[in-house]
Symmetry: C2
Subunit: 213 residues, 2 copies
C-alpha cells in the first residue's frame, strides 16, 4: 500500500451507491479505502472489486477464527481485489500465519487492541505481546487508536518500521497530525469524510492537517 497522503477513508456507509460515490470523489486524496462487513452484508462482496477500481481497498474484517476459515476469508477478499485484510491477533500464531500465507502479495494488518470501553476487559493487557507476535508472524501493519497517541507510540516501539494505521480521527476526537507524530503511518477518518456534505472538502482539511507536521 502506498504512503502518499497518509490518509485512509473508513467507508462505513452501508448504501452501495452512496459508498461508490464517496469513493470516486476522494479516490485521488486517500491512500486506501477501508470497508467492513456491514457494507458486504448490505451490498454483497462484489463491493470489494467495485471499490478497488477507485482505490486500494482494506477489508477491515477483524477476522477471528480457526486457521482454515481465516485462510478462506483472506483468499476470497484478496481475489476480489483487496490490498489488505485486517485480522485479530488474539486468535494466536497459527491463525495469524494462515492469514499472512493466504494474503500472498496483499498485506495483513493485525488488531492488537481496540478503542471501545469493553476492549479493556480481556485483551488490552496483551497488546504489546500480540504486536510482537504479529511481527513474528509476518503482519505488515498494526491498528492503534488515534485517540490515544501514547498507545500508538507504544506499538511503534514494538513493530519497528512496519505500518501503523490509526482509526478514531475526526468524529471520535483523534487528530490526524497527532496520530502521525506519535508514530502512525496512516490516519483513518470515517464519518467526518463520508458523512460530510462535501467529502472532498472534508478530506482536504485532514490532508492539510497532516501536511502541517
Amino acid at each position: 500500500m502506498k504512503t502518499d497522503s497518509r490518509l485512509v477513508l473508513a467507508l462505513d456507509e452501508t448504501n452501495g451507491e452512496k459508498a461508490l460515490k464517496v469513493a470516486e470523489s476522494v479516490s485521488d486524496m486517500v491512500d486506501a479505502i477501508k470497508i467492513n462487513w456491514p457494507l458486504v452484508l448490505s451490498e454483497g462482496p462484489q463491493m470489494i472489486t467495485k471499490l478497488s477500481e477507485f482505490s486500494e481497498v482494506i477489508c477491515d474484517f477483524k477476522v477471528a477464527d480457526i486457521p482454515n476459515t481465516v485462510k478462506l476469508i483472506v483468499e476470497n477478499a484478496v481475489s476480489r481485489g483487496a490490498s489488505a485484510v485486517i485480522v485479530h491477533a488474539f486468535t494466536g500464531d497459527d491463525s495469524l500465519r494462515a492469514a499472512v500465507e493466504a494474503a500472498g502479495d496483499a498485506e495483513i494488518f493485525a488488531v492488537t487492541e481496540m478503542s471501545h470501553p469493553g476492549a479493556k476487559m480481556f485483551t488490552a493487557q496483551h497488546a504489546e505481546e500480540m504486536a510482537r507476535l504479529g511481527v513474528e508472524c509476518g503482519a505488515k501493519g498494526f491498528i492503534a487508536p488515534a485517540t490515544r497517541p501514547d498507545r500508538i507510540a507504544a506499538i511503534r516501539s514494538v513493530v519497528g518500521d512496519l505500518k501503523i494505521l490509526s482509526p478514531g480521527v475526526g468524529a471520535q476526537g483523534g487528530k490526524a497530525s497527532d496520530a502521525i507524530k506519535a508514530g502512525a503511518t496512516y490516519a483513518i477518518v470515517g464519518r467526518a469524510i463520508y458523512g460530510a456534505e462535501d467529502p472532498r472538502a472534508a478530506a482536504k482539511i485532514f490532508l492539510d492537517d497532516i501536511k502541517s507536521i
Copy 2:
C-alpha cells in the same frame, strides 16, 4: 432455536449450489445449519435467506468489533433470516450487549474459547470469565469444543440452562454423544456430513449416536 435432533450442520461449503443441495437433503434431520463468512464471500449474503427456507440458520460470523459495527452486522444477518449469530465474548460487555440488543428475537451465541492451538496464547485463560459475562449480557448460548468434554462441563457449570453448541464432532474427532453427555445442547458436525457422498446417511449415524444416550 428448537432442540429436537440436537444436531447442527456446519455447512462449511463455499459452493452455493452444493451448499443448498446438502441443506435441502438434511433439513428435516438437523435443528439448524451453521454458516460462516467464506460462504457469504463466495456466494453473497442472500445465502442466509436461501438457507433459512430449509432450516434455522446460525451465522457463525465470530463478530469481534466495536458495538456499532456489531449492531450493524447482527441486524443485517437477522433481517436476512438468521435465527442466531455467533459473536466473540473477548470484545467485552458493550459489544456483547450491542449484539443481544440488535438480535431482537434472534439469539446471540458467544465464543468463550476456541479449539485451535493458537487460541491458548491469549484468551483461553479467560474462558469462564467470558462465559459469566455472556450470561450477564444476555447471550442465549455458548460455544465449547466437543473434542474436550471437560471444557463443555466447565462452561455448563457457569451458564446454567442456557444452550451450549459443540463443534468438532466427526472429522475433528469429537463424539456427539460424549459432547451431549458432558452438557452440550447441540453437537455441531461439518465435513463428516456435508462432505459425505450421502449426507442423509451420514447425518443418520450422528443422530443414532445421539439417540443412544
